[in-house]
Amino acid sequence: MLKRAPALTRIELLQGTLDLIILQSLRWGAQHGYGLVQHIRAHTRGVLDVDAGSLYPALHRLERQKAVKAAWELSENRQRVRVYRLTPAGRARLIEERSRFELMTAAISGLFAQPDPAKR
């Protein structure tokens, strides 16, 4: 059984962040739902664990918003899978959400980097 990070170290995803993660994960090519789960888990060393009940609504929402496009394809195991890929609109959305995310993390980091006046 796959080792999982302890529950406390896993992060509950903020609303909206999941969209960004999905879009970012699709940047390097088309993925099916299961692939995305594995990809996110692997690239965050198990810290971010997306369950199906969050992933599929997010994917279908992005599909409805035309940020991603879905198609049925055959996997390497000759299995029919539904594959999602970024649309130009999705690419633009990724850039926009990423810069917003970076702005926010920079701001929060700045808050933490400030020397504590009490200790001085």
Binding site: M1, G33, Y34, A52, Y56, Q79, R80, R82
Partner: protein, 894 residues
């Protein structure tokens, strides 16, 4: 494919795809796990655990698909429809109640829409103005204009782009089959221009055809052309009109008419503009003008004033000259005004008030229906307490429960509206069939898009109104207490009971107002029917014959014809007597002819002018046949022949107006500007000539047999009355044989019994009273059902309490009285409120009442007793059921 089906098809495909997507996800995870060394069983189990519930995933994901809101709404409706199907009795009552209310509203609104709201079927109908003259001295508000005035007006006015005059009458038309009597109109030059309508085939009249010695021509209506001439090409052919051969120059488009008169034959009114002076004083034309573009009726009225002030001077007369034979007869600002009225509002007259009253009545019916439905839904919501509490416990929010109720009421109101439209369709047919004679523009009544929009709005509004009732229940009731209550229902429902009782009081009050209004109108109608018209109308049959002027150019031939008809009728077994007269009571046109009365010199501005309202040409047997009693003197006799001295009979009113405190017998009168003096031989009892609801006017009777000599004229259009024990149908072939035996070309028209003539004269009040009576009955039934329903429900709800009372020794009568008292208290409060409201509201209808005041004590008392009786009947059934409650069973109930 319709959008809804498409939506569902797409959703089904989408759902199937997602099942496959989830399956592939699980399969891949399983394969990875097996590859990693897990046993197939473990791999499957872990994959499924990791994935979570497919049900939940499916549900949260499907929320993201497009069309979800729509799908959810449709789902709600499907659910509502399903749950309503489970209670067919409730649903049927609800839909039927609503269908009645909406159907009645739709039907009446269709009438208002067609008659009042739809513009007239002419181009730019708002520009059309109905022009009449006003003669205050004779109490004429809307009188015909004379030809001279028409010609003057046409030249001098600056407000109208065209003006035309018309006068309707009847003509005999020689058709392909038998001769027909149809409504005709003579129209002046410019009439069709003013109406803005051209002939559908051929043309209308040119100016030459309206001048003296013009060619004899005629224009036919589309209806006559189709029915009497089979729609064959007729333009250019000859047609017999009153035995004169006329060339058809055109056929009008379908439905073309003037002032709703049903004109079938259009003839030119021959006027000579050069002979204007000779055409003054003979008033016979109604004028229709078309306002110039951009000119309003108000501006036209302002422009009329200087025209009136200068009129007589413009005709070369002296405006200050006293009235007399030398003065020019022309309009002036004081004694001979000119009136403008928008054609449409003039045509519909006062009917709009009556129609709006009917509409108000059906709105009341609908309100009562809604109140009943609100009560029904409220009770349904209460009986569903357990279900609702369970739903709430399972996580359904208030909004979700509200949606449940709203979708149910929308389903009910939509079905009710649909059924209502069907009802209205049938009802409207019956309405137009019975009311076409009393409603102007009845031909324009149809159910169009306006009507459907109205029904749709009404249905939505109703759904909202009664759909809110159970929501009230939701808002007030705490759902967790509801759950507890559902377990053990006690009588702690007083708040909701209050709502229900208020609703019962409201519907009782509404029904009372309607029943009172209907009662007053029924009494008015009854009074109208009881009016003594001055003659005995039983066993009287009447018909009329118009003798064509060409064949009967000598007035003695007219007299001879009718004398023969009467003589032959008299000879028929079963006929008591027969007579002929020029004007048929109780509703005939006025004559308003000047007369010279010996010894009567009116002071201008003080005494009534020497002008007689009705001049009746009657045969010798008239008074005997009509059974009109003589007040003094004698009736016509055989001795008053064509050669004996001219005599006349006057009525009581004429005697009172012109000969107060004098004996009129033996006085002499010159009627109609005659040169001969006539001697008054008798005073007859008043006969209602201008309608049973109005005062009898002044009237004088000339002897038909004498007038060819005294006046050189005898009216060729006479009404024959036959007093006989034979009924109308038995008499018909005899009359037809007699008339065609004398002249084969003559049609018999207006063949009716005098009772029919009477009921036609009060057709409109009867129509109104009948409809209001029907609506009041429906309102009464609905409110009785409502009262019954609420009491029955209360009894069921209080079974336990009643059981305790019975166990503690309450008698059957005591229980009965308790329930009865509740029902009668509610009805009593509703009754008081309703009667107060009626007293305030019936004033609006006071112009429609006859012989009864708007707050008639008798009607109000009768309504009060009647409503209490109805309430008692509605209460007795649930009250009796309450007495049968078995204490033991009741105490064990839920």
């Amino acid at each position: 494919m319709n959008p809804l089906a498409r939506l569902f098809g797409r959703r089904a495909r989408r759902a199937a795809e997602f099942e496959e997507e989830m399956a592939s996800h699980l399969a891949m995870d399983e394969q990875v796990r097996i590859a990693r060394g897990e046993s197939p069983d473990d791999a499957r189990l872990h994959a499924e655990l990791d994935f979570g519930s497919t049900v939940t995933v499916r549900e949260v994901t499907s929320d993201m698909w497009s069309g979800e809101t729509m799908h959810r709404v449709v789902g709600d409706f499907q659910y509502a429809a399903r749950s309503l199907r489970r209670v067919p009795g409730f649903t049927a009552v609800a839909v039927l109640t609503l269908a009645l209310g909406i159907g009645a509203n739709t039907a009446i609104f269709s009438v208002i829409n067609g008659v009042v709201l739809q513009p007239l079927p002419y181009p730019k109908p708002e520009q059309l103005v109905f022009i009449t003259t006003q003669l205050p001295a004779q109490h004429f508000d809307e009188f015909w204009m004379d030809a001279g005035e028409f010609l003057d007006f046409r030249e001098r006015n600056t407000s109208f782009s065209s003006v035309g005059g018309y006068r309707t009458g009847d003509v005999n038309v020689g058709t392909d089959a038998a001769p027909q009597r149809v409504t005709s109109a003579i129209v002046t030059d410019g009439f069709f221009d003013a109406m803005g309508v051209v002939a559908a085939s051929g043309r209308t009249f040119n100016t030459r055809e309206t001048l003296p010695n013009g060619p004899p021509v005629v224009v036919l209506s589309n209806e006559l052309w189709r029915t009497a001439f089979g729609g064959r090409p007729v333009v250019g052919t000859q047609v017999q009109i009153n035995r004169v051969s006329r060339m058809v120059v055109g056929v009008m488009p379908p439905g073309f008419d003037v002032h709703d008169q049903g004109v079938k034959v259009w003839l030119p009114a021959v006027l000579d503009p050069a002979q204007r002076a000779q055409q003054r004083g003979g008033h016979y034309l109604y004028l229709i003008g078309r306002l110039k573009d951009g000119v309003t009726l108000l501006q036209a009225r302002a422009a009329l004033e200087p025209m009136l002030a200068n009129w007589i001077a413009a005709d070369g007369g002296d405006p200050k000259a006293p009235p007399g034979p030398t003065a020019i007869h022309a309009p002036d600002p004081k004694n001979h005004r000119v009136n403008y009225a928008a054609l449409q509002s003039h045509m519909i007259g006062s009917i709009d008030r009556e129609l709006w009253i009917l509409q108000a009545a059906v709105v009341v019916v609908l309100l009562i229906a809604c109140v009943n439905l609100a009560n029904l839904l409220l009770m349904r919501a209460e009986s569903r307490h357990k279900e609702l509490a369970l739903r709430a416990a399972l996580g359904a929010g208030r909004a979700r429960l509200a949606r449940l109720f709203i979708s149910e009421s929308v389903v009910i109101s939509a079905s009710g509206a649909a059924a209502g439209v069907a009802l209205a369709f049938a009802g409207l047919r019956a309405l137009v069939a019975t009311g076409s004679k009393s409603i102007p523009r009845a031909g324009a009544i149809t159910m169009d898009t306006h009507v459907f929009a109205f029904t749709l709005a009404l249905g939505a509004l109703c759904g909202l109104v009664f759909g809110l009732a159970p929501l009230l229940h939701l808002a007030s009731g705490n759902l967790s207490t509801a759950l507890r209550q559902a377990g053990s229902r006690t009588t702690a429902l007083s708040a909701r009971n209050r709502v229900r009782r208020t609703l019962v009081i409201a519907e009782m009050a509404l029904a009372v107002t309607l029943v009172t209004g209907a009662g007053l109108l029924l009494r008015s109608f009854w009074n109208l029917m009881r009016v003594d018209a001055g003659f005995d109308r039983s066993n009287l049959t009447t018909f009329s014959v118009e003798l064509p002027r060409l064949a009967y150019n000598d007035s003695t031939r007219c007299v001879a014809f009718f004398e023969s008809v009467i003589a032959e009728l008299d000879a028929v077994a079963g006929v008591r007597s027969a007579a002929a007269m020029s004007g048929l009571p109780p509703r005939r046109e006025v004559n308003k002819n000047d007369a010279q009365l010996e010894g009567y010199a009116p002071v201008a501005g003080k005494d009534p002018p020497a002008n007689v309202d009705y001049v009746q040409y009657a045969t010798t047997t008239y008074f005997e046949t009509m059974k009109i009693p003589m007040v003094s003197g004698r009736a016509f006799e055989r001795a008053d022949g064509p050669l004996s001295p001219p005599v006349l009979v006057i009525n009581e009113t004429l005697a009172r107006v012109f000969y107060p405190n004098q004996d009129p017998l033996g006085k002499r009168i010159k009627p109609n500007g005659d040169t001969l003096w006539y001697t008054v031989i008798g005073v007859a009892k008043d006969v209602k000539q201008g309608g049973v609801d109005s005062q009898a006017g002044t009237e004088l009777y000339l002897l038909y047999e004498q007038v060819p000599r005294t006046e050189g004229f005898a009216p060729p259009n006479m009404n024959v009355v036959v007093r006989s024990t034979l009924d109308k149908a038995t008499l018909a072939p005899t009359i037809r044989r007699i008339v065609s035996g004398l002249d084969r070309s003559l049609p018999i028209v207006q063949y009716r019994t005098m009772d029919e003539v009477f009921s036609e004269s009060v057709a409109r009040p009867r129509f109104l009273a009948k409809l209001l009576g029907v609506f009041a009955t429906v309102a009464l039934l609905l409110s009785a059902i409502g009262t019954y329903g609420v009491l029955a429900y209360t009894v069921t709800e209080r079974t336990r309490e009643i059981g305790i009372r019975a166990a503690l020794g309450a008698t059957r009568d005591g229980v009965l009285m308790m329930v009865m008292r509740e029902g009668l208290t509610l009805a009593g409060i509703g009754l008081v409120i309703g009667l107060c409201a009626s007293a305030a509201l019936t004033r609006v209808a006071s112009s429609l009442l006859f012989g009864v005041t708007p707050t008639d004590p008798l009607t109000f008392t009768a309504v009060g007793i009647f409503m209490l009786l109805v309430a008692a009947i509605a209460s007795i059934v649930p009250a009796r059921r309450a007495t049968t409650v078995d204490p033991l069973v009741a105490l064990r109930a839920d």
